[in-house]
Amino acid sequence: MAKNKILVIGDVYVDFHIDKEMNEGYLLRLGGVFHSLRALSTLPCEVEVLYFSPNYLDQNIIKYLSKLNIKTYLKLGEINGSPNVMLINNSKEIYNQEYQDLLRDERTIDKGSCFDDLDKFLENNEYSNILIFSTACNVHEYFFTHELNINCSIYFDVLNLKIEGLVNSKDNYNYFFSTTSTINNLSANKLLDLFKENEIKYNSIIFKENRGGTLIFIDDSIFNIPAYIVECMHSIGLGDVFDAVYIYFNNNDIVEAGKLSAYITMLYCQTYDFNLFIANVKKLFNDKLDLPLGIRLPYDLRRNKIIYLAGPDFALNQITVFDEIAKSLEFHNFRVIRPIKENGLISDDTNRLEITSIINKDMDDLNNANIMIAIVPYDDSGTYAEIGYFYAMGKKVILFDPKNIVKNYFVLKCVYKKVIDINQLLTIIFSILGEKK
């Protein structure tokens, strides 16, 4: 078995970022397997790739593989009917990234002749690790249905889990999942239950929980890996980067491999500038830098974290910033309290009994909440009163104030941190609510 000779198998996409937030206009770059390949190109290993793509991308694929110093590659098949372009409307994964895979349903695959000889290819090239992404061609089925005479670690990155597709799994196979790759956002424990109920064999399951860290299951052992929190520039391909780096480092020390993977993934999310990414990874190893403290906030446990949204949350018939923030937090599985929506709005017509009831419910919610997000589209005395009350309880208030409305210094003194967009907000929320690790 060759040391650190890694094969990556998957599709090549064009990632087209159409977010309004891009500073230099729209951005497009090669995606799909290229995220993993970029990460591996920064590490001292030999990388080879088998891929599927539409033919109009062939020249650019070869050009950029060369730039990554990847010399051995093979196109396994041609994609027709679809340009393999992924429109991305939410690059920072504030909520669902809203990938739009253009003409996905028109896609057909011409499997090249190489696919027929895949087992000979694999046997003739001694790899230490093989990383297989979910592809349009369902390459993973090949590994499930063929007896392969190869001695290496095999990892599958599973998207859109269909449990019946894994029933022929083997007990030396390893699986990457994420909270967004499973149907109905399964938690790690529910995923494990599914595996057990369906008697699906595996060697390890690596369950990535985005900004909250990662869980690794091997035999009866569980390993918790932190995430390194920064305000990301983007969240595209991060799971793929994690996969690749983890495979590279995973020899004996699983936790160390996980931490390095998480850290290098953080470096990837901080920039679209590939040269800067390379420099950062090199610095990590050349300068033998210590890893900083990270946080761990499992997907399951976020439901126990109660976030109180304070502010004038009563616009009707329009999507408001409250809706956007609630949507984002709920996507990440936090419990969100919107007191006006849940307890009622006090107006001039509200009778006294009802006023008392609403206020008591609001107080209960404030007492039970772990953190407050105060949203201030304009000066609102009720919101300021809630800020003061929450601060006096010794709890943290995050002020969401992109328009710089709040000027009162006493109010500002009660605020732990002011943020101006949802991405910043998420960064702070995870930093505060996560367990330092």
């Binding site: 087209f16 500073n23 230099e24 206009g25 729209y26 951005l27 497009l28 770059r29 090669l30 290229f34 970029r38 650019n60 950029y64 730039k67 390194y228 929190i229 920064v230 305000e231 520039m233 953080m266 470096l267 901080q270 920039t271 679209y272 500038d273 590939f274 040269n275 800067l276 420099a279 950062n280 610095k283 300068d287 830098l289 210590d290 890893l291 900083p292 403290l293 990270g294 946080i295 500002l412 003194k413 732990y416 941190k417 960064t427 702070i428 930093s431 505060i432 996560g434 330092k436």
Partner: protein, 120 residues
């Protein structure tokens, strides 16, 4: 590899946007673990308001530490959300950070608040 515009693949830098995060002023940073940090544990007191401080350029116990400029003792640590300063700004771009204590109190709980300015 990325691109500005949609004409072709290229390399997106976005350098201007990333630079801004290093030079913004940092107000009202509540330091963490003040009660168990060197300054308080060895001197049994907190730094005065107005004391000069600086951000230690290396990680200490995996964290970014704020030191008192005169006594060179760790007063406390920056909250985790400031970790980006380490990779992005200190290591990559050579920024350093100094500032002062703007609030310091030990009742009802030990609390030190600083402000910092970044410079190259």
């Amino acid at each position: 590899m990325g691109s500005s515009g949609t004409g072709k693949f290229g390399n997106y830098t976005g350098a201007k946007n990333e630079e801004n995060k290093c030079v913004e002023d940092f107000y009202d940073i509540n330091l963490e673990e003040v009660a168990i940090s060197d300054f308080y544990t060895s001197l049994k007191t907190l730094p005065d308001v107005g004391s000069k401080v600086y951000l230690f350029e290396k990680l200490h116990n995996k964290r970014l530490a704020i030191k008192d400029s005169k006594k060179d003792l760790i007063i406390g640590y920056l909250p985790i959300e400031y970790n980006y300063l380490y990779t992005n700004c200190i290591l990559n771009k050579g920024y350093s950070y100094d500032g002062q204590v703007i609030f310091s109190n030990d009742l009802p709980i030990i609390n030190v608040v600083v402000e910092l300015n970044g410079k190259k």
